[in-house]
Each structure stands twice: as structure tokens, then as C-alpha cells.
Assembly symmetry: C2
Homo-oligomer: 201 residues x 2
DNA sequence: TTCCACACTGCGGATGACCACAATTGCTGC
DNA sequence: GCAGCAATTGTGGTCATCCGCAGTGTGGAA
């Protein structure tokens, strides 16, 4: 259903092939690109899995490619490979959010383990992001006034108080409140609060 | 009120003094130790600020010291300094949660900037941890039955339904519910949900 | 102009939440 | 045994919520 997938960006065909083969034996599919430019041209916001990125490549380097991905809002974990890395480079990459930073020659199993952790991490991210997308689409259905009322409801205020603050009648607040519950698919203010505040219990 | 504080662990007195002086000019206080052992012996769970940790020291290394801190549940950001670090060492430290990893010779201003970011980050952590501690102490005051009822209340169920599920009368549920609100310092189920689900809006 | 979404309001009733008053049972510790 | 806490239940009343029914007004789209 959700195939594990690694995006391999390296200008060395031997590395690409070796990695692809290695990952296949561990049940992870691969897509390969021979340059950062090529990968970036193909990249879409809905890409999932992880990125294995060689640092030293002709033209655009892996680090530059990473920066572009960050600008574009990429969410996939990025694993760097390098033969000539130094400490500041590794530190900088990790602090920017890279998933890992491995030096060549690397242990095959170690790399595959890292890739698997990365794709699994991405799968978890996708799952939580999906729930969030549902929320956003529901919130988008609310009228401005409904959103306003919803926020006040979420503070635990009585309808009477909300009515006073908005200078409208209690009945109107009730109507908005009811519509909010209906559109958000909940049956009480508590459920709404839980929905808008995930990760609990 | 909350003095910015750096814990400097380095067996080179010249470095300790230089760092202390540098930080003082930027309004950050320092405490210094000449070995990891000495620092660990003094360490208390309520230490705050940040740790500046040299990696190569006689006896216990900075990395070993870091591991001990992690076991003990240290929360302070740890900044590593090293003259002979390598990439795997830096990557390992950062993935374990180190705040930064700097190579000597380092730029004075850069280090001070990092330290300041670290102590500020710790101050934020302390603030949120404090709120969480308040929560925990309040939750600790609840009886088992009250906690049980609270969880059901937080699902948005009616008192009647909760009563059925626990095989008790509605009146009893009301009493527990009321005590929960009282002990948790809230006035409605929505406020309770907000309290137990921070970081929203 | 007609239709429609949105905001607004009132009335009255059913249901749920909350509370003061009052009380019983069981267990723990002095 | 008695004090104290936790859990339990009932009565009766007040306040809040929820909802159907009914209606007004406004601004934008067809």
C-alpha cells in the first residue's frame, strides 16, 4: 500500500546501482538521478520516502540541492553521503534538519538501516500530515463568523458570554456553534478541542 | 531573575578563563570545571543554562561525559568543543541531541552566539517544563476514580454514558467530574482539554 | 431581478450540566 | 473504636445547551 521508497541522487552510476540493489534486498524501492538538477526538476511536493544525496557532484552539490529542497518545503528525510566531508559541513547539514550524514566508505548494512529508519519516519509523518489535511479542509468550510465563535467556544466561555463579546444574541451563537460542530464532524466542544489538539493520552 | 549561565568543562585553564571572560562581556555568567568527573560530581537535576564541553580531556572524555548526562536525564543544551574531531563523532553527538559541535580554533563571537542561543533555548524549556510540572502535581492529587472519569469526560461523552460504562450512577459521575475540575483549577471540560493539550491556536 | 449564502433573532421545550443538602459504605491509620 | 478519605447515591432546583420552527436583512452571483 505504501511502498518504502528511496530517492538516490549520485553522479556515480556504480553507487546508484549498488545502493538500489542493496535496498531491494531489504524491500525498499529506489528511484535514481544522476545529478541534483535532474532530481530537482523531477521533484514534486507529494514525493515521499527519503533522499540519499551525494555531496560532491558535478555542477550543483548535494548541500546546495538540500537548500533548494528546504526552500521548496520538502519534508522527506535527507541522508547525505560524502567522501570528503568535514565537521562543519556535517554539523551544518544536521542542524538544518538532515536525517544523517555518512562518510564513504560506509558500511552497507549501516546505510540501509539508516535509509529504512528514514522512510519509516517519513511514513509516520505522512500519516499525521494526512489527519492534519482533513482538519484543514474542514476548517476551510467554516465562515469567518463561525471561526470567530469557534475560537471563543474553545476558551470554554458560555454562549451568553460569547454573545456579549460579539454583541449578538445567544441564539445566534448557538446557531454558529451548531454549524461548527456539524462541519467539523464533532458532537461537543470537548471533541472539538481534542480534534484541534492532537497527540494526547 | 533568571541569570544566563554556562557550565564550562575543559581541562585547559586558559580556555576556561578566556571563555568566562568572553561570556561575561555578553552578560552570560559561567561556572567552570577542569574535568568531566568534577562536573558530573557537582551536577544536579536542577542545573540550568548550558554546557560547554571539551571532547579531549584527561580521563573521561567529553563524549563519555555526555552519555552520562543523557542517562541522568540532563536537559541542558550541550555544546561540544574539539580540536581533533571527525565527522562520525560530530554526527553521533548531534544525533544524540547535542546542541552544537564546534572545532577549534573557533571564532570567539560564533561560540558566544551559540552559547547564548543555547541558554535562551534552555530558558524556554524551563518555562514550558514549569507549566508541565504544575499539571503533574495537580494530576497527582486526583484519585484513581477521578482520573478514570476525567478520561471519559475528555472524550466528550455525556455523564449518563460515563455512568453506564462505569456502572455507577450519574450523580457519582457529577461529583467526580466536579472534583476533577476543582483540583485541576478549571471551570469546564473544554478548559481541561486545553490544559492537557498545549501549544495550540 | 431572483436566488442564495451568511448573519442575525425570538420562542419554547427537551435534555444535560452543576450544585447544595443529606447520607451510607468501606478502608486506613492513630 | 474513631477520624478521615474515597466512593457511592438520592432529591430538587437552577442554569446552560441544543434544537425545531419561524422570520428579517444584506450583499453577491446568475
Amino acid at each position: 500500500m505504501n511502498p518504502l521508497l528511496a530517492h538516490i541522487v549520485d553522479d556515480d552510476e556504480a553507487i546508484r546501482d549498488a545502493l538500489t540493489w542493496l535496498l531491494r534486498t531489504r524491500n525498499v524501492a529506489s528511484r535514481t538521478w544522476s545529478s541534483a538538477e535532474e532530481f530537482l526538476a523531477a521533484w514534486q511536493p507529494d514525493f515521499h520516502g527519503c533522499v540519499v544525496l551525494d555531496i560532491r557532484m558535478r555542477e550543483m552539490s548535494g548541500l546546495e540541492c538540500f537548500d533548494v529542497l528546504l526552500e521548496r518545503g520538502n519534508n522527506m528525510p535527507v541522508i547525505f553521503l560524502t567522501g570528503h566531508g568535514d565537521v562543519p559541513m556535517a554539523v551544518g547539514a544536521l542542524k538544518k534538519g538532515a536525517f544523517d550524514f555518512l562518510e564513504k566508505p560506509f558500511d552497507d548494512n549501516a546505510l540501509v538501516d539508516v535509509v529504512i529508519r528514514a522512510v519509516e519516519s517519513d511514513a509516520r509523518r505522512m500519516a499525521s500530515q494526512e489527519a492534519q489535511a482533513t482538519m484543514s479542509s474542514r476548517l476551510a468550510q467554516l465562515t469567518p463568523r463561525e471561526i470567530e465563535v469557534m475560537h471563543l467556544v474553545l476558551t470554554g466561555k458560555f454562549n451568553k458570554v460569547i454573545a456579549d463579546e460579539l454583541n449578538i444574541s445567544m441564539r445566534t451563537v448557538e446557531v454558529h456553534r451548531s454549524r461548527v460542530f456539524e462541519k467539523m464532524g464533532v458532537r461537543s466542544a470537548v471533541e472539538l478541542a481534542q480534534l484541534l489538539a492532537p497527540g494526547r493520552d
